[in-house]
Symmetry: C2
Subunit: 514 residues, 2 copies
Amino acid sequence: MNGAESLVRTLVGAGVEVCFTNPGTSEMHFVAALDKVEGMRAILGLFEGAVTGMADGYGRMAEKPAATLLHLGPGLANGLANLHNARRAATPIVNIVGDHATYHLQYDAPLASDLMGFARPVSGWLQSSTSAHTVAADGARAVQASLQSPGQIATLLLPADTAWNEAERPAPALPRPVAQPVAQEAVDQVAAALGNGKKTAILVRGAGLKEQGLVAAGRIAAKTGARIMCDTFAPRLQRGAGRVVVERIPYFAEQILEFLAGTEQLILVGAKPPVSFFAYPGKPSWCTPEDCRIIHLAHPHEDGTGALEAVASVIGAPKEPVNIAPFERPELPTGKLNAFTAGQVIGHFLPENSIISDEAATSGMGVNFYTTNAAPHDHLSLTGGAIGQGLPLATGAAVACPDRKVVCPHGDGGAMYTLQALWTQAREKLDVTTVIFANRSYAILNVELMRVGAENPGPKALSMLDLHNPELNWVHLAQGMGVEASRAETIEDFIDQFGAAMKVRGPRLIEVMI
Amino acid sequence: MNGAESLVRTLVGAGVEVCFTNPGTSEMHFVAALDKVEGMRAILGLFEGAVTGMADGYGRMAEKPAATLLHLGPGLANGLANLHNARRAATPIVNIVGDHATYHLQYDAPLASDLMGFARPVSGWLQSSTSAHTVAADGARAVQASLQSPGQIATLLLPADTAWNEAERPAPALPRPVAQPVAQEAVDQVAAALGNGKKTAILVRGAGLKEQGLVAAGRIAAKTGARIMCDTFAPRLQRGAGRVVVERIPYFAEQILEFLAGTEQLILVGAKPPVSFFAYPGKPSWCTPEDCRIIHLAHPHEDGTGALEAVASVIGAPKEPVNIAPFERPELPTGKLNAFTAGQVIGHFLPENSIISDEAATSGMGVNFYTTNAAPHDHLSLTGGAIGQGLPLATGAAVACPDRKVVCPHGDGGAMYTLQALWTQAREKLDVTTVIFANRSYAILNVELMRVGAENPGPKALSMLDLHNPELNWVHLAQGMGVEASRAETIEDFIDQFGAAMKVRGPRLIEVMI
């Protein structure tokens, strides 16, 4: 076997079942090896930003890495923005990036670039294989590195001759890293703090936001009255009916200050203290009250769920958590179609155990509000602020969870970044319903323009935030990529179209005119 | 005035007239300043890969930089692939990349990243402004750096507080760098070599491929019989009727070897010796004959045109160049619609002084063949191999040259990467006709799969190169972004549609079913 085949066999042996690809010439041996090895599904994306976003969505839901297959420096570069989001989400991903043959690099051919330089800012682990004899072992290390708790991006550069030269055998899988348990001292410190009568908030991120961790947090709240919070943009949150309600930290600095006002103790579980997303003149970046004590229960690489359970046990918390969301299916609205009423419709029809890939931005409040007590679901958010995550993330989540409906509420501006993901949804017949909120603008920037103190914006400035001229037509765009699509002009339209989409399988796009 | 306004005034004062933008919150002061300063046109792109490709097309035609305005690390990252192409084209570009306020970086907010790390691989000049008091001077240096011969990418990071804090004044423009004249010794050495009776080829890249340099090269050829060549992917070549014919080096290594066989002397003018685009098992990377003498007449930063003229003078070349292309308008074809007959139609209708932005890839041979003796035009090619250049490059070229028709023959696979450029064409009413060669595949990879020795490709491998399932519909995609579009199923269709597009102004897309 050649190096490429030894690598594919190694990846499959280490549990990697899916490869999201956009290959070129230098990856042809890897592509050919996909047919020689059982067990690796290959999913093509028509742009690398879609490919890496799919790997992120897959990894967040499957809790193990997909591989990506990318073409040299520019192929990786096209995928970097969604790798930035994945890095912020701590998603395990194994990037395989083809490179020129080792002996070819000296000629500085047109596609040569500083590939290591492109990869470094997003990669927790980065290696270039130098020989077909070692590439299998490098691949095994990459998988293990990607699973280093809480998860990270491992990038393996694969020079073409390393892929095509003769290799011996695949490498055995390396042990899957496990999250470190927290020290008993940390548990005891938090237990003591919870007993001191001060106003306490527990900020959770990572695996602790799944049902098991939330139950433990809700039991602590039952005993102590502590508030349970998550970041504005948590990678994955299990919520809806039957789940412990988590308060989401608001977006703007002054809202965060108000939200945290009076908090005397902030207990961190896999999270960092909240800061403002951007800086604004005269507004604070640091949003925790000055006199608030910050206590680390679990660092991001540690076992936050276990730590919450240990604390619950030490303080003698009751078995039953508080603040469990009751099931209250929202009524179907009447009246005007807007982001709020559309969110109400989504909450009404949302199937049990669905997944929401949320990049609705300014249009997202309705969805968020009306799904709090809707059927239980997983919520995935835009972790790194690099817009253009939602469509590919939904695509990858649907690959990871073929039996679950994926709903993707998305702003029209951000969706244009990686619209190519729709083609993959059609090709793979994935069960994703995309809802485009067509407000024809980078709406958030109209807010931000004022907030940063840029007074009296002129017509040129305003035109940079406006997408009316010409108007995008998302029905045409989706149809151009083979996805069935429709436009909702009224609330009745949207009820009909979204309701119908929830009853069938397969990709569907609805453009909501707001 | 604030730092942003001092920077915009400085850029305008230094001759930067266009800013291709995709801004976010951290760039709002720069955006606001665009209204306070006369003379800077702001052109919005819906994805940064489109934005940077537009800046490349503008710079190649205008021979001075446009500015880009990009949003933090992910915004820059999305533009890197086309910046890679621009780096290979030696196009002057000034990137303005917004960053978090200097004091905000310590908080590692979601959008924070290693921005310098992202920028370094493509930037010939890279600086982060640290104060509103110095940003104007930094901007003046960036413009000057971008024009350092033969042209390069200058990236200026603009922390938000550097933009919003108070500044004094704009900075004066710095002198525009000029290309170094070559030393007389280099001229004399080449003149002597041209008289030694050996078989000689002159390989030209850069400004020497415009009319003036080509005349000098053609005069040298008239005196000595030397062949005049350009790279497979020259950034810009003036060709067509009335221009000295330049032999384009073929793509594959074995073709290059045959093409150069017998060449005893290779004279380089702004070029490097030809190498193969990719490495292939058992095939050479270095493509110049082993016993061929390589002589540098002009390095890329030197004045190649002046050097060619000096050589022509020293050897007493005649006033008239040889190998001037006669005007031979191709007949309109009949029969089957394919890439060859479509190329013939393009050659027939091509208006005088048009610009071809060529990313036709495997479908490009017909266009190339049938435009050799067509009306004189500028030809722009995919310099760095990062596909997805053609549509934005055409867009930027049309901004630089509003009175010239731009024709963009493009493969369907590559066009999907940066299709967002079509929206900007519609918004700015640019005179671009895009011709999508719809072969529903990454056709080159079917060739490459065999060439790299990946034998007996299986169904999975072949499916990674195939874009049939589902079929893209470029008419829908273009209409979704406001561009008038049609599909040509027959040669008669294409004659009608392309002929009509050449008679009117404004954006138009034709999907050619081949």
